[in-house]
């Protein structure tokens, strides 16, 4: 199909699809008139039953926690997938250049990066542990934490020398986070008989230690997201930082990967 034909076909198809969609959304309630009942029922029962005023956190981590488990696993999958898809370069790690030839980040970059890591981590921790009280939570805090980890990674004295260790560390961190959330789901099954059911004391609404499993789940998600996002960014960063090896090196590396596969 030539580009013109394709664009024409797409325009006609999208116009037709758009027309049907416009007719369809005409059948929705007017904007601003959410009819319920799902959200309204949750708004009624959550504060009393879960000692939790942050309805979104309660929905994400308890009532619809299984979705979140799936979502975290998708993130985990993406991290595994990025590592797998970008893995050609991993063979070169730490073996292609002797340590003293590796370019180091400038002192200023290291100093600024290093100085920022601490405050950013504190902010991430704050957002995570208040996730059941205020907007934010495991996901937002985790992404901020990933920022701290990437800073630490980028400012690290010998980026490439430490790479093997830090990648493994990030992988372990994301696995611990995801495993923690799965363990929470399993904990409900073992302790009270239903997967994902709360099995921790509920405490007083509005306190830092309240709402049972919800803050624990936030913590697990925070660790997982921080590890996974940092891992993905680190893999891309490494791609961007590594300059091309000479061709000869290239081919030997390819030979390594082109080994028979079944």
């Amino acid at each position: 199909m030539s580009r013109q034909v394709r664009c024409g076909l797409a325009l006609v198809a999208l116009a037709a699809l758009g027309a049907t969609l416009v007719v369809a959304v005409g059948g929705l309630e007017p904007f601003g008139h959410y009819p319920g009942p799902y959200g309204d029922v949750l708004a009624k029962v959550v504060p009393g039953e879960r000692h939790e005023g942050q309805l979104v956190a309660a929905t994400v981590l308890d009532y619809r926690g299984f979705d979140t488990l799936g979502e975290e696993l998708i993130l985990f999958t993406a991290a595994c997938g990025c590592v797998a898809l970008l893995r050609l370069r991993r063979r070169e790690r730490g073996s292609d250049l002797p340590a003293h030839e590796r370019p180091l980040p400038s002192f200023a970059a290291r100093a600024v990066g290093g100085a920022l890591v601490g405050p950013v981590l504190v902010l991430a921790a704050y957002v995570v542990i208040h996730g059941h009280l205020t907007p934010g939570g495991g996901f937002s805090g985790g992404v901020i934490g990933a920022g701290a980890l990437v800073l630490a990674y980028a400012a690290g004295q010998r980026v490439r020398l430490r790479r093997v260790g830090s990648i493994a560390m990030l992988e372990t961190a994301e696995a611990i986070g995801a495993g923690g959330f799965a363990a929470l789901a399993l904990g409900g099954l073992l302790a009270v008989g239903a997967t994902m059911q709360n099995f921790l004391p509920l405490g007083t609404s509005g306190m830092l230690l309240s709402a049972g499993t919800i803050p624990v789940g936030n913590l697990a998600i925070g660790i997982e997201v921080a590890g996974a996002v940092a891992l993905i960014v680190a893999e891309f960063l490494e791609q961007a930082l590594l300059e091309e090896r000479p061709e000869a090196d290239h081919s030997s590396q390819d030979a390594g990967l082109d080994a028979p596969r079944r």
Binding site: A78, T172, P260
Partner: protein, 586 residues
């Protein structure tokens, strides 16, 4: 209760362990953990099948039972068909992991982790009783499948295949999610049963019709229904063999399962009264898919693409079965999924074994070079006949029940078209037997001689894994053949299928815990006409097998390998389906 969530959590947990320990290089440990987890998941799913044959198993996660018909949380629902499909996916995953035992490049434990994540996604997808949870697990199996199909990153084609796969399926998921959002706006619910109850009280309007179209199109992309199918051959032909067999045997079928599940729990109420319009649209798509897939299959000389297009063709046959919208045809669909899935999986493994031995999957390059591989040749022959629906084996039984279902609705003309489709597919495989394993027929012009090399320096080194694959392929194909001969199979599935299509019973069980009695269903084996059709398609396949590659004409040009074209076709298909549903139902 615990079984359903454990069936998802076990592979997930193992995947997390494997994904977190990729710095460990002990390959055998990864193999052992992955195999153990997949086998455990298989056992749990089989236990669910057994448990649910008495009464549907409903598990409310978090212990949030519905109140006054309003679901607070998420439920996992296992009925025999859903649990059976999950078990089938787990069985193929175990097989895939066995085939992968000899795969060299697994990038530490990443390969195993991704396979288990895909399995968890498939099981969760089968068992979810909540539309958004279905979406989440649909994405989980999708994302892991993208990564797996592009796993051989050192080569060019896998990257392109993975790219086409990921982009088209992501657009499909968008349509699915847009449909879910529309339904949520109408019903204020995400639980399938609750949505069905909320919709059943009103006449269908444009919103319901378009929502159904969007949800169906989202699933059609995964199920590779024409014109949503273009990505499939690209992705399946480049994935490692161990993954191909899971994809071709289970992943595509799950897309159609999604359509069936959502139709019979959510839409049957409002749309069921206008079932004929829906049936005609779906049937047209199914026949188109069967014929396009079959013609493309018969025109392939790349063996993996050949099997991939066979998958497309048979997804069309399955969609015809679902399109009839009744329980009797659904029995045929269930039988066909397993019988055909096993044979296709076995055929993929056999192609992989041939690739291992001869270093090529090109029919012309392989011409006559399979003469000393009698076992593989016989295996290909058996697959060809089975795919052509030779009675009384597995794929025949399924297709025959679908054909009988169509005839019952006065659609006698469907069966001959399905015969043509199966005959082209089976004939293509039989043609490979003739050229590659017998070396008969016109010799192809010697092209690309340079590319023809024995793969690997040491033939003996390649022998052992190839032999292991042949054993696996024999087992798969054998099972697929025997499947149709199991006594009482149809009688066992018929009540489950009748239950699957009963929306009211589903809603009562899920929302109110009311156990429905097992419906008494009179089930019948295939009619004499269906036997004749089966014999006819096998004979026709033999004729096709003698012919040269069937030219597929302009169809081939459409399969351009360009993702922009594919998405344009996807949008066209979605516009047509949505438009037709909006006009006929709205």
């Amino acid at each position: 209760m615990a079984l359903a969530s454990l069936a998802v959590l076990v592979p997930l947990g193992a995947a997390i362990v494997l994904g977190g320990t990729t710095s460990l290089r002990r390959r055998r440990i990864a193999d052992a953990i992955a195999l153990a987890a997949a086998t455990a998941a298989l056992g749990l799913c089989l236990a669910l099948v057994a448990r649910s044959s008495d009464a549907t198993v409903v598990a409310w996660l978090g212990g949030w039972h519905p109140r006054d018909g309003v679901a607070l949380g998420i439920d996992l629902v296992a009925d025999p068909l859903a649990a059976g499909l999950a078990a089938f996916a787990a069985l193929l995953t175990v097989t895939g992991l066995v085939v992968a035992l000899h795969q060299v490049d697994t990038a530490s434990h990443l390969f195993h982790a991704l396979v288990l994540l895909c399995l968890a996604g498939m099981i969760g997808f089968c068992l979810a009783g909540d539309l958004f949870t279905i979406f989440v697990f649909f994405e989980l199996m999708g994302v892991s499948a993208y990564a797996l199909s592009g796993f051989r990153v050192a080569e060019r084609a896998p990257l392109e295949g993975a790219l086409n796969f990921a982009v088209t399926n992501s657009v499909g998921s968008l349509l699915l999610l847009a449909g879910i959002a529309l339904l949520y706006g109408r019903t204020g619910a995400l639980n399938l049963a609750q949505m069905g109850d909320a919709l059943a009280t009103r006449q269908p309007d444009a919103l319901v019709a378009v929502a159904f179209a969007l949800v169906a199109c989202g699933f059609f992309v995964k199920a590779a229904i024409v014109p949503f199918h273009f990505w499939l051959a690209d992705a399946y032909a480049v994935a490692p063999t161990s993954i191909c067999l899971i994809f071709a045997g289970a992943l595509s079928e799950l897309g159609l399962y999604g359509v069936a599940r959502v139709y019979w729990t959510v839409f049957e109420g409002p749309i069921g009264a206008h079932g004929e319009a829906v049936r005609d649209v779906l049937l047209a798509l199914g026949l188109l898919t069967a014929l396009v897939g079959a013609v493309m299959c018969a025109g392939q000389r790349h063996l993996k693409r050949l099997v991939a297009f066979a998958t497309v063709a048979h997804m069309g046959v399955l969609l015809c079965g679902v399109a009839l919208l009744d329980g009797a045809a659904l029995v045929g669909v269930a039988v066909f999924v397993v019988g055909d899935g096993l044979v296709k999986a076995g055929l993929f493994v056999a192609v992989g074994a041939l690739e291992d031995r001869r270093g090529s999957v090109d029919e012309h390059q392989l011409y006559g070079r399979g003469r000393d591989l009698p076992v593989l040749g016989a295996l290909f022959g058996a697959c060809g006949l089975a795919l052509a629906a030779l009675p009384p084996f597995g794929p025949f039984l399924g297709r025959a029940l679908i054909e009988d279902g169509a005839s019952h609705q006065g659609l006698g003309w469907v069966a001959p078209l399905l015969v043509v489709a199966s005959a082209l597919v089976g004939g293509a495989v039989l043609r490979v037997v003739r050229t590659v394993f017998l070396g008969r027929g016109a010799k192809p012009p010697p092209t690309h001689k340079a590319a023809v090399e024995e793969a690997g320096e040491d033939p003996a080194e390649r022998e052992r894994p190839a032999r292991a694959s042949v054993v696996v392929a024999l087992a798969l194909v054998g099972l697929g053949l025997v499947w149709g001969l199991m006594p009482g199979l149809v009688d066992a599935i018929a009540p489950s299928a009748a239950h699957f299509v009963d929306r009211r019973a589903y809603a009562a069980e899920v929302l109110h815990g009311v156990r429905a009695g097992a419906p008494g269903v009179a089930s019948e084996g295939p009619t004499a006409t269906a036997w004749l059709y089966g014999l006819a398609s096998a004979a026709l396949a033999a004729v096709v097998g003698l012919a040269r590659t069937v030219p597929e004409g302009p169809l081939r040009e459409l399969h351009s390998g360009r993702v922009g074209d594919y998405v344009a076709w996807l949008a066209t298909g979605a516009a047509i389906v949505a438009g037709l549903f909006a006009i006929t139902l709205g």
